[in-house]
Each structure stands twice: as structure tokens, then as C-alpha cells.
Amino acid sequence: MLKQRSNALIDLRARIARLERGETDGGRYPSMPFDIPAIDAALPGGGLVSGAVHEVTGSAAGGFVSMLAGRADGPVLWCVMARSGADLYGPGLAAFGLDTDRLVIARCATAADMLWAMEEGLRDPGLAAVVGEPDRAVALTASRRLQLAAETGGGTGLVLRRGAGKGDLSPSAVFSRWQADSVPLLGLPDTARSSIGGTRWRLDLLRCRGGGGGMNKAWVVEWCDATRDLSLVSDIVDRPGAARERQRLAG
């Protein structure tokens, strides 16, 4: 018994060490490619790694996360706070590629329930993705738990923090951090304003384990409702002019 326990301890310690070094468990789980070479190349495993938790902030985080969950092949659990005032809307989710026949929504009353539900979902190998919308930042310990649960279950965890900016990013054990902001359509003549076309996001990969330390990657992508297709609009590499370009994009 004691020997078993010490074995388990050794196992855990090794795993924590691996985590701290920023490795995954040797590509045990496949990744979801974006099918955009510029983005996939910046990510370890050539896509969004499954069996890991990813955090998404920004003004367009909801749409981006719906799209990611829609790309996961299998049932999706989406945990929301019960009193959010704005319910997920089926046709809108379907427009981002998340069909509701494989969506389960858990309405959690408290933040503790939310974390518990996410952890349960991530640990279940039957789920392809688990989305959580906590009303405050996930603490370091909690994020570590979620990451471990995702490694056990193999699904993709997505922590959705709407409205949160770069400023309030607390330390976290998530695998990667994204910021997705909406991008206005600019430079179109007034006559084109009667149609607002596809959805554009500016994606910032703020942090990613094993993705080349400290690199700040940014892209502008466009989602087309009709074809359910994500395409690259421009590739913003972090260079001195990037800030200016961002300003220009933000109008």
C-alpha cells in the first residue's frame, strides 16, 4: 500500500516537473489545426492542442471560442453562470459551426460549481471540448486542476473570459492564452456599408507552452458564416511597426 502510494507520488512529481518545463505528455493527444499554415506553425503540434486548457479573452472571445468548440469533433459541454442575463442562442452558435445536437449547457449557480463542472467535463473522455465562462479569473491552483483534468480526459478545455483585457491576466497554468478582438471593417466605400459581411477577429497568441518563449504572435482572420471557413486576412508579426498597425486597424 505504502509502496503504491510512493509510486503514485513519484509519478505525480515527474508529471509536475514535465508541466513546469512546459512539455505536454509527449503529444499523447492530437491537436486541432486551424488549417491556416501561419497560425499552425506557431503552435506546438501544429494546432490547438487537445488534452489541454486554453484561455481566451477579448471582445470577440465568445465567437472565437464557439468556432473552436465547433471544430472539436464530438460532444461539447458549455458551462455558463446561471444569472448571466444573456443566454447562448442556438442559431448563433450554429453560425460559428457549433451544432447544438452535440452541445450540453450547464448553468452553474456559483463559481465553485462552474470549476467543478468544468473539471468533471474535462476528465470525461467522452467530451471533445469543455467551455467555461467563469465570472472572474481562474486562480492558479484551479487552472492547474483544470489542466490536469484535461490531460486525463483528453478533451480541449476553453476558458472564456469575455471583456477581460491583457491587463488583468493573472498567473495561470493553462496551456495557451489567446486574445480575440473584433476588427472593424475599414476602407470600404460607403456603398458597401449596407452589408457587414464576415466576422473579423484579431487573434493574439499571448502565451503558449512550447511555442517559442515570449513570442507575441498576432493574426487577423475572417470567419465566413456561409462556408463555415476561417481564412487569414493578414499576418501581423511582432515588429516595431506592429503597434502602429494595430492602431490603424482599431481605427
Binding site: D87, Y89, L93, V104, P184, I196
Partner: protein, 528 residues
């Protein structure tokens, strides 16, 4: 042994009333009030005939479910007289009052009390109390409204009743009457053999039951659930771990029995009998029938913390009050090896009946294969839904399904997560937002709004948004068959707009202007 029997029905003395039901394409009277009965209307009469007899007859549709509910209520109410209460036929109640009458001041007082209280509930009953159920039935149906007959005089008291008082089938009663045997007393002297030869033992059995020559037990009301296991401890236990261990044993036993019956439970009640005589009960539910001991133990694990063992627990009872058929195919949970062993034992038994894919399970694990393939779409997540449902509440674990409506808030239906599957097809059409506000929120439009266009800017939740682009309008008119105060404002023109930062909103304007000529703007949805 003394037994009583009551016979109750709804009663409205004021007017002739009949309950009617439609059977085989015609409307038939199922029950009548006193006044209607006096006018010659009887059950099983066609309503047309009854109306011909009594044009002023008032009718109400029969409600068998409500009747059954009322009878069930009366049954539990009869628990005040005796624990042994059982239903009889459609409208009767057996009460075994052996040793109970003295608590109410004697048999007569008890029957009076029963009938008085029933009368206060608006019901009229007939009761008979005598030594055998058969005689009690005969006296309550064919004797006086309230009769008490001592065991030794049963023979004489039912002799004068018609033979149908012996609970005989209509054909048998008719046959006896044709032979001139009209009264129960006529049968007393007859030799048994020819009677049995002619009427297949029914007559002599019923006669013997009425006269107490054959025992006829009454089984108590509320039979204990069929799937119920019990564990008693020689010494009281108090530790949560011990309770958990006991629960595991009970679950194992119960699941074994459910497996043999090819059933799964939808609800499980665990009752702890504490040494001080009090009870502690905890229930868990499942979204689909289940009988996986490990999975069910997980559901309980969340709840065991709320149990208080008090001074100790001397017995535990685990019951599955709600069970449903469950073949060998369904249960597949990502549970431990132990539960898999349990299940495969069950599956092996059940296999010849159905060609289930469970046999493959050994070779192919349910989780994603290491080759990098995506996981299978049909993976079973009902155990997860059960765990979520038991902690968050089953009404909070939901799915979204389309509904036929043009109104955005009605076009989506929230269903229990477990119920729906298969194709979900959303009506193709204009783009819809990702989130819909529970209530549309009023917007302040800052500049003058053009007659047929969106405002140039609006203020929502104290933040100003300048519009960059807009798409619309899409007019949605209220559906006249829905009474929704939210749509009192009439038709709406919806716009999909984008502000200067690229955020998108779903706005609408009430088409009908208000008295001052302006029309109000609302925000109904968000695209992020």
C-alpha cells in the same frame, strides 16, 4: 380477523350529473350522481340515450387519472386507521383493521368516523366490516350503507344477497340465475362437484372466501419497491467511509438484480436508519436508466457529505423506486475496471437476446486512440450528465433545440440534455446573434435617427457606440397566437450593426412610432 371495505365515488347531490367518456367512437356514461341515477340513468348507457331520458343531464368528461389520484390519496389517508390498506377494483379500498378498532372506540365508532370524515371530504362511501373480505365486499356492494356483521353470523347475513355479490363474473352470475340460483343462500346446500364441473371452481372458491373457509390475504398498500436491498449492521456505524463501503455493497447487489431483470434505475433512494429511530434519506437521479454500480456510487459520493449519521446508523436501505427497461447495449461509462467487470458479467448474460456492440469493447477503448484519430461522435456522456445534474440540478443541464417560430426568443427550446439527440436543423435565414439577452434592453439613441435607417450612435450600459456599418432591416411581426407582453410593441425591424471597434450587436426598432412620433430602439443580442 375482521376486515372492512369502503366504496367511494364523487357525489354532487344538487343536480343530475354524469361523467362521460368516449369509447369506440361513442360517448358513454361512466358514472352518475344520485339524481341522475334516480332518473334511470346508469353507467354504460350511451350519452344520447341518457339525454333522451333526462334532457337536463349535466355531463363532465371522466378523468380516470384524477380518479386514480384521488383513490391513491384515500389509500394513504386510510393509513390513519390501519397500515394494511390495499386498493380493490377501480373504486374500493380494503382495510385490514384487525386489532385497530379499539383505538377508535369500537367497530361501530370506527366505521362512523370513517364515513363522516369521507363525507367531509365530499365523498360518500359504503362500508362493511365483517370477518372475511368476500363477505365485506358483498355487504358493502349489496347490503346496507354501513354494516357490521360478526364472523359467526356471516353465513346468514349474506344468504339473502344476489349471487353477483360473490364477486362473480357477469357470465357466471347470469348462468347461476338462469338455473334459478338467485341468492347466495341458494348455493349453500348444493353439492360442490357439479357446481365446480359447471362453473370451473370460481363459484365454490368465491363462496368459500366469503364464508371464511379459504384464507384470502390482503396485501398492504404501497408495496415496497421491487428493487430494494437492505444492509443491517451488528454495531452502529458512523464514519462516512463505512457508510460508503456499505453503499458500495448495496449498489453492487442492487445492480446485479437490475441486470438480471434487464432494467436500469432512474432514481435511487438511500435511507439510513439511525439508532435514535430517525431516518436520513438522500436521493439521486439519472437522466437515462443506469445500473453501473461505479457510476451510481459516484453520484452518491457528492451527496454523502450531507448525511448526518447522528449517534450511529444501524441499517441502510437502498431502493430504486423508478426503474426502466435497459438492455445490454447502453451502459458505457469511462468508469473503473471494477465496474467494467460487473458490467461484462451482466452483458454476457444478456448477449444472446441482442446483437450488441459491447463485445468489441475489450479491443477498442472508448477514448481517443493514440493514432491521432478524432474521438468518435457517438461517445456516451450520460454518466457525466447524471453527475452534473445531481449537483447542479437536472433543470440546469440542458440542450438547445429549434422550435417553429419566427420570434427569436421562441425559435429556441431548452430541453433536458439527455432527452434530445439526432438532427438539429436551424431554420436557414438571416444571421442570428451568439447570445440573446433575456430581456431586450432599451437604448439611448444620441443623434437624430433617420426614418428608415439605424441610429448613427447609441448608448448601451453607459457606453457609447458609434456605428460603422449596419445590415437590415429584417422585419419580424408578432405571432398572433402567442400572447407575449414583450411583443406588445408590435412588429420590429432588426438590424445587425457594427461599432467602431468591430463589435457587433443585434438591435431592433419598434416599427409603430409612439405618440410623440419617435420610435424606441432596443438591444436584443450580441455576436460575441
Amino acid at each position: 380477523m375482521r376486515r372492512g371495505k369502503g366504496n367511494v365515488w364523487r357525489d354532487d347531490p344538487a343536480a343530475p350529473v354524469a361523467l362521460v367518456a368516449e369509447t369506440a367512437g361513442r360517448i358513454v356514461v361512466t358514472a352518475v350522481s344520485d339524481a341522475a341515477s334516480a332518473a334511470g340513468i346508469a353507467p354504460e348507457m350511451a350519452l344520447a340515450d341518457a339525454r333522451a331520458v333526462l334532457p337536463g343531464l349535466r355531463t363532465m368528461p371522466a378523468d380516470p387519472e384524477a380518479d386514480a389520484a384521488l383513490r391513491a390519496h384515500i389509500l394513504s389517508w386510510c393509513g390513519r386507521y390501519t397500515p394494511f390498506a390495499a386498493p380493490e377494483g377501480a373504486d374500493g379500498v380494503w382495510l385490514d383493521v384487525t386489532g385497530c378498532a379499539h383505538l377508535f372506540g369500537g367497530e361501530q365508532a370506527m366505521l362512523d368516523d370513517l364515513l363522516t370524515r369521507l363525507g367531509k371530504m365530499g365523498l360518500r362511501g359504503r362500508a362493511a366490516l365483517t370477518g372475511t373480505p368476500g363477505a365485506a365486499w358483498a355487504l358493502s356492494h349489496y347490503g346496507e350503507a354501513c354494516s357490521i356483521v360478526a364472523s359467526e353470523s356471516v353465513r346468514g347475513s349474506i344468504a339473502g344477497l344476489p349471487v353477483s355479490a360473490l364477486r362473480l363474473g357477469a357470465a357466471t352470475a347470469m348462468g347461476l340465475t338462469r338455473l334459478g340460483l338467485k341468492r347466495v343462500g341458494d348455493l349453500y346446500a348444493l353439492p360442490r362437484a357439479p357446481l365446480t364441473a359447471r362453473f370451473s371452481g370460481e363459484v365454490s372458491l368465491r363462496l368459500d372466501q366469503a364464508l371464511g373457509r379459504v384464507e384470502e390475504p390482503i396485501s398492504p398498500r404501497r408495496p415496497p419497491p421491487r428493487y430494494r436491498v437492505r444492509l443491517a449492521f451488528p454495531d452502529p456505524i458512523g464514519l462516512t467511509d463505512d457508510i460508503q463501503a456499505g453503499l458500495r455493497r448495496l449498489l453492487h447487489e442492487l445492480c446485479e438484480r437490475l441486470g438480471q431483470a434487464q432494467r436500469g434505475c432512474r432514481q435511487l433512494d438511500l435511507t439510513l436508519f439511525r439508532v435514535d429511530g430517525s431516518l436520513q434519506t438522500v436521493s439521486v437521479g439519472t437522466s437515462v436508466p443506469a445500473r453501473d454500480a461505479a457510476h451510481l456510487a459516484k453520484l452518491f459520493a457528492e451527496r454523502l457529505g450531507t448525511l448526518d449519521a447522528g449517534f450511529g446508523v444501524e441499517a441502510m436501505v437502498l431502493a430504486a423506486p423508478v426503474t426502466e427497461p435497459l438492455g445490454a447495449v447502453q451502459i458505457d461509462s469511462p468508469a473503473s475496471g471494477r465496474s467494467k467487470a460487473n458490467r461484462s458479467a451482466v452483458d454476457r448474460r444478456a448477449k444472446p437476446a441482442s446483437s450488441s456492440p459491447t463485445g468489441d469493447r475489450g479491443q477498442k477503448p472508448a477514448s481517443s486512440s493514440p493514432t491521432g484519430d478524432r474521438r468518435p461522435k457517438d461517445s456516451n456522456i450520460s454518466p457525466l450528465i447524471d453527475r452534473l445534474g445531481n449537483r447542479l440540478g437536472f433543470d440546469r443541464v440542458v440542450g438547445l433545440r429549434p422550435r417553429e417560430s419566427f420570434l427569436p426568443e421562441y425559435a429556441v427550446e431548452t430541453v433536458p440534455a439527455a432527452a434530445g439527440d439526432g438532427d438539429v436543423l436551424w431554420r436557414p435565414g438571416p444571421v442570428r446573434p451568439l447570445r440573446l439577452l433575456a430581456r431586450p434592453e432599451r437604448l439611448d439613441t444620441l443623434a437624430a435617427v433617420p426614418e428608415d435607417g439605424p441610429p448613427a450612435a447609441f448608448r448601451w450600459r453607459r457606453v457609447q457606440h458609434r456605428l460603422q456599418a449596419a445590415e437590415g432591416p429584417e422585419r419580424i411581426a408578432p405571432e398572433w397566437w402567442r400572447l407575449d407582453p414583450g411583443w406588445d410593441g408590435g412588429a420590429r425591424d432588426y438590424w445587425r450593426v457594427e461599432d467602431e471597434t468591430g463589435r457587433r450587436f443585434w438591435l431592433y426598432r419598434e416599427v409603430r412610432p409612439r405618440r410623440d412620433g419617435t420610435s424606441r430602439w432596443f438591444l436584443h443580442g450580441l455576436f460575441a
